[in-house]
């Protein structure tokens, strides 16, 4: 049996990769993918805990997260398309109209 900590470390690594990608990348779509990576890192720890404690609620949570992520992806992609249509770029540094 693989110990719990392995899953958690993997989840942490996935999350950290997501954060790093989010901070480094300029392309909106890549940033979006980084968010999904973070969510999946969390999902992994949920599932690992659920298996470890023999509790189903962790797995239920994962389904919720997936549903929300799907909805978010739908809305997010729509926004990205709208942004691209008006600004003709996907570089977040150039989407700064609200800056002081």
């Amino acid at each position: 049996m693989i110990p719990l900590s392995y899953y958690l470390v993997l989840g942490g690594i996935l999350f950290a990769c997501g954060v790093a990608g989010f901070l480094i990348k300029r392309n909106i779509i890549t940033i979006f993918m980084s968010i999904e990576l973070m969510l999946n890192g969390v999902n992994l720890s949920f599932v690992a805990f659920a298996a470890h404690w023999h509790a189903l609620s962790g797995q239920v949570f994962v389904f919720f997260v997936m549903v929300v992520a799907a909805a978010e992806a739908a809305v997010g992609l729509a926004i990205i398309i709208a942004v691209y249509r008006t600004r003709e770029t996907l570089n977040v540094d150039q989407v700064n109209l609200l800056k002081l």
Binding site: V19, F22, L23, K99, L100
Partner: protein, 663 residues
Amino acid sequence: MTPNPLHLWLIPVLPLIGAAINGLFGKRFSRRAVAAVALSFCGAAFVMALWVVSRFSSLSLPHTETLATWLRAGSFQADFAFYLDQLSLVMLLVVTGVGFLIHIYSVGYMWEEGGFYRFFSYLNLFMFFMLTLVLANNYLLMFIGWEGVGLASYLLIGFWFTKDSAASAGKKAFIVNRIGDFGFLIGLFLLIKHFGSLNFEQVFQVAAQQPVETAGVGLLTTIGLLLMVGAAGKSAQIPLYVWLPDAMEGPTPVSALIHAATMVTAGVYMVARSHVIFEHAPTAMMVVAIVGTLTALFSATIGMAQTDIKKVLAYSTVSQLGYMFMACGVGAFSMGIFHLMTHAFFKGLLFLAAGSVIHAVGGEQDMRKMGGLRTRIPWTFWTMTAATFAIAGFPPLAGFYSKDAILFRAFVSPQGSWVYWAIGVFSALLTSFYMFRQWFLTFFGEYRGEPNHAQDEHSSHHSGHGGIHESPKVMLIPLVILAVLSVIGGWVGAERFNAFLSPGFHGHAITKLVAPGPEEAARMAVENRAIEHLELGLTFVAVAAAASGFFLAWLLYYRRPQLPQEIARALGRFYQAVANKYYVDELYAVLFVEPLVEGSKNILWRGMDQKVIDGALDGSAQGAREVSDSVRRMQSGNLRSYAGWVAVGAAAVIAYMIWMGAR
């Protein structure tokens, strides 16, 4: 409530209705309508007062009528209640009677003035407050009237508010009165604290049971002294008299009504009303007597060197009020009220006649520019003559009886002393002198004014239509009535007046009279005869003083008109000091006004207001701006830097939780 109420509340409320009508709608009324409203409501109050007199003998005194409960806090209660006894009846008649005559006179005097309706509205308002003061059955309601007459006085002194001197005279009167009211109020607080009531009857009942405070300053002495501070403010006694001469900036009927006949006597009334307190506090009585005597002398000397016809009368008023306080201070309260009444007649008349003179010469108030008016305005001359002889104390005019009674009491009363008497007689001489000086300067000799006075700058206030002219009938009738009163007003006699008032004064007094034994009675008979001789002698001295005042004035201002200037030059500095009112105003300016103004300017305005209050406000605004300036940089608009902050924050939270968990 008595079965047959007198509806005393109507007496003050009637003038209030008149004031409200004229004040609210008077602007649209014609002058005739304004005068009709003002006169009818004031006259109605007078008629009511007369009706009260007709019912007076059938009343059980003191008669109290409660209109409504005003305040109730625990055991303390103050009502809208009215109190009628001999003292308030006399005041009621003086206020409504003289007030009504002056209302009539004002119609003629103010006819040409702007703000006619405003004037009468204020005048009626004054009547309301004065009658409230006189009829109140507790100190609190009295205080309402007290403050209200102060307000009316302020409004009327500053009636010509576009004139700078009038506006500041009004303010001066108001502020100086505040000092007095401060003392009055603290006195009232002490009464509430120790007696739990401000109701006259309850307070006096408790006070009458207190021992007489012969030594030291006890509670009653403190209260008495504080009440005297209030009275000194309202009745223009040393050291608070300075506002009254300046109050002459108001129209002359106002000077007659408020600053001679009625309002300024409120202090005397209040002291007389509180006689129980004063009788139990000999020290306070002595202070009252000394203040009164000194004021009588002090302002009489100032009056000798004034050249403004109204200023002479103003200082004379201060001096006569001093006599009233002298009377109260030696325990002769009813004599003080007697003099108050006769003074209301002759001083009201003097002011009205002076107003008539001013009217005649087109607004000139400087007596040096008058003269020889005797034949030009005979009615004014004869009425003023009656008043002048009355105030100087010539028998058998009103002033003789009251002043003589005061001086006699000051001499023989247990609290009195020959010192009071001597100063009083000397002041009477001065009174006689400055009054006849005024009389000679105004009516005798040659006319010294400019012939073409109609172009005088003051004439905008008065009808300057060509030449010196007698006033209209509406002004002369009050003059004649007051002149008659000034002549016969004293004939009631001090003894009878005293007997009339004494139930009011001695109902509460210390009853230590034991029926005299035969020896005692014989001794008293001898004493009585001795006192009668003494009284005759003192009267003779007083009349001699009045006569010598007349003679001096005749010599200096009629026979040898160049002499006064020589005397003034010979006296030099002293004359200058007197002519400049002993520099009291200047002294007060240096001692109180300037430190206050400077302190307000430098500490309160520039220090407190500008530095602390404004500084705190500006500082907090400045601080908010600086903080936000530095924090603003976080709001870069860079999406990734926001995410970075979120990540750092999350990392910090996690690190904290791990660290806490590790402990």
